[in-house]
């Protein structure tokens, strides 16, 4: 599998791709920090939601304050990861490059896992960079918003940063597996994207508006809760457990399909 990961990284980790990723990450860091620090309230919202999505000055002054902007910003990136994986993996099937890889390594599950892992390696690096840049941007904008930063650079602060990183990465892995599974099922980027958009976009969000249980059941809502560190509707522990069940199921579907289907494209 290492060979497949290496091969895919040779393709993905090009100067141009890296430049785009770094630029986008920098933009994310600046915009997120400015927005979060600029909109932080001095008092918790009435009936304020647990978890992420809004924050207060006091929260930003805590140990996790340095990476709070990163965590809030990252909670909105799940859908982006989802469609990116759908597009990347489905294109492997429709473009014939999946077939070309299988002629080099016929272990289909290994090739699929290696391909996804390579993109996740890149994603993990991007997330780390995003967290670091957001921390720097937050440190720059904090004084102007009256936020003390002393607690950020303590052991607790580092632990909180690591926790935020792992939470976001876990969510990204979940979205990646869902996206990959849809791509494997449909083997066509437009079709898989259409279904993915319809499900994770309008369907889930419209249904949960009138059916609260959807927050605890729908895969997209579960992963959103996970990345936010838990929500009122779904605690972090429950989100992790449900996400593991869903991601494992989706991965099994994808691996079973790739190993059994004929490669005809």
């Amino acid at each position: 599998m290492i060979r497949i990961v290496h091969a895919q990284l040779v393709r993905l980790a090009r100067g141009r791709t890296i430049a785009v990723l770094v630029s986008t990450t920098l933009l994310f860091a600046v915009l997120t920090s400015l927005t979060v620090f600029g909109t932080a309230s001095s008092e918790p919202a009435v009936g304020g939601a647990a978890g992420r999505g809004s924050t207060t000055i006091s929260a930003l002054e805590g140990p996790s304050g340095g990476t709070e902007a990163f965590a809030i910003g990252a909670s909105f990136t799940g859908f982006l990861v989802f469609v990116t994986f759908i597009a990347l993996i489905a294109t492997e099937f429709s473009g014939g490059t999946w077939r070309a890889l299988l002629l080099r390594d016929p272990h289909r599950r290994r090739v699929l896992v290696g391909t996804v892992a390579a993109v996740l390696v890149l994603a993990a690096g991007t997330v780390a960079l995003a967290e670091l840049l957001t921390l720097v941007a937050s440190w720059i904008v904090a004084p102007a918003n009256g936020v003390a930063t002393a607690e950020w650079f303590t052991i607790s602060g580092v632990a909180a940063a690591a926790g935020n990183y792992l939470t976001v990465l876990a969510g990204i892995i979940g979205w990646a597996v869902f996206g990959t599974t849809l791509a494997v099922i449909f083997r066509s980027a437009p079709l898989a994207l259409g279904v993915g958009f319809a499900w994770a976009g309008p369907f889930e969000n419209i249904v949960v508006d009138s059916w609260d249980t959807g927050y605890r059941l729908f895969p997209g809502q579960v992963l959103a809760s996970l990345i936010r560190g838990g929500t009122v509707e779904l605690t972090m522990g429950r989100a992790v457990f449900t996400a593991i069940v869903y991601v494992t199921g989706a991965a099994l579907v994808a691996l079973t399909l790739v190993s059994r289907r004929d490669v005809t494209a």
Binding site: R3, I4, V10, R14, G96, T97, P106, D262, T264
Partner: protein
């Protein structure tokens, strides 16, 4: 020594549709084999089964001595271009090859030489999407050669190429065939295959109609000569003379065509020449009728169809 490819009763069904129907064939090592058949005859599906991409519904087979159900055992020694070249469009031809070499555990040091071998030395750094169809096909051949394979499987490598590209591809396949390498190549261009293949597999409706040396297939109707006397007035006399010696005689395009069964062309030519000479008839042409692969293919299709 085992055959490069041997399949027995190989069958592939999609629902009620049988694409490959109990195909049995053997390819000796070292041959350049043409895989011929009309569209939908099952050529690509057969190749895909040999490469582990498609699972047979029935039957068995071996590639380089290994069962086709265990492609990991033989794919390292097999290079293939099937269903057209497939590469990542936004990276260079060289980087595409590097990626595949890494994935297959092949030595990347061969890439520069391979790009030269397929005539892409000056374009290796260009994005794949900027390549012409011919260049894409040649990069596909280079990818197939990454592991210096014992067996090369090429599915329509000249598909979509212009006449010059077809000629270049034919030359390339001819060069690749050296050194004991076995090549299985499918094509619709039978004149091209006739020039490079010493073995032919002819399939129709998923079944093999013929499998064996190209020479034997083309010699099947051998023993035919075209004869042209110097003076047209001698034509009728020559026909009569030949018929009295139990030879089959007919006329095609103003020439006399003489047949005497299979594999006797040299003796037949000598006999016809001697008879004409003794009768005082001077011949200006005495040549064997060569059956082309295309003619043979079409006649076999007629019989099969």
């Amino acid at each position: 020594m085992t055959n490069a490819v041997a399949v027995s009763g190989l069958t592939k069904r999609y629902g009620h549709r049988t694409v490959v129907d109990h195909l049995t064939l053997e390819l000796p090592r070292g041959v350049v084999a043409g895989f011929i058949g009309p569209n939908g005859a099952g050529k690509t599906t057969t190749m895909a089964m040999l490469l582990g991409l498609v699972r047979p519904s029935e039957g068995s087979g071996t590639v380089l001595g290994w069962p086709i159900g265990r492609p990991a055992e033989f794919l390292g020694d097999v290079g293939a271009l099937i269903e057209g070249p497939a590469f990542y469009p936004s990276i260079s031809g060289r980087r595409n090859l590097e990626m595949l070499a890494i994935a297959g555990g092949h030595h990347r040091g061969r890439i520069t030489g391979l790009l030269e071998q397929v005539g892409l030395a000056g374009r290796g750094e260009d994005q794949y999407r900027s390549y012409s169809l011919g260049m894409k096909q040649r990069l596909g051949i280079a990818a197939a050669l990454l592991g210096d394979p014992e067996l090369l499987i090429l599915d329509e490598p000249a598909n979509g190429l212009d006449p010059q590209g077809v000629q270049e591809m034919r030359g390339l396949i001819g060069r690749l065939a050296g050194g004991g390498r076995t090549v299985l190549v499918s094509s619709h261009d039978l004149s091209e295959l006739e020039q490079v293949c010493d073995w032919v597999v002819l399939i129709e409706g998923g079944r093999a109609l013929y499998e064996g040396p190209t020479r034997d297939l083309l010699d099947d109707r051998g023993g035919r000569l075209t004869v042209l006397p110097e003076w047209p007035a001698d034509g009728a006399r020559l026909i009569e003379l030949l018929r009295t010696h139990d030879l089959e005689v007919g006329q095609e395009d103003g020439r006399i065509v003489v047949s005497a069964g299979r594999g006797v062309q040299p003796a037949l030519a000598a006999a016809v020449n001697r008879l004409a000479f003794d009768a005082g008839i001077v011949l200006v042409e005495l040549s064997p009728v060569r059956t082309t692969l295309e003619e043979r293919y079409l006649s076999m299709m007629e019989v099969a169809g």
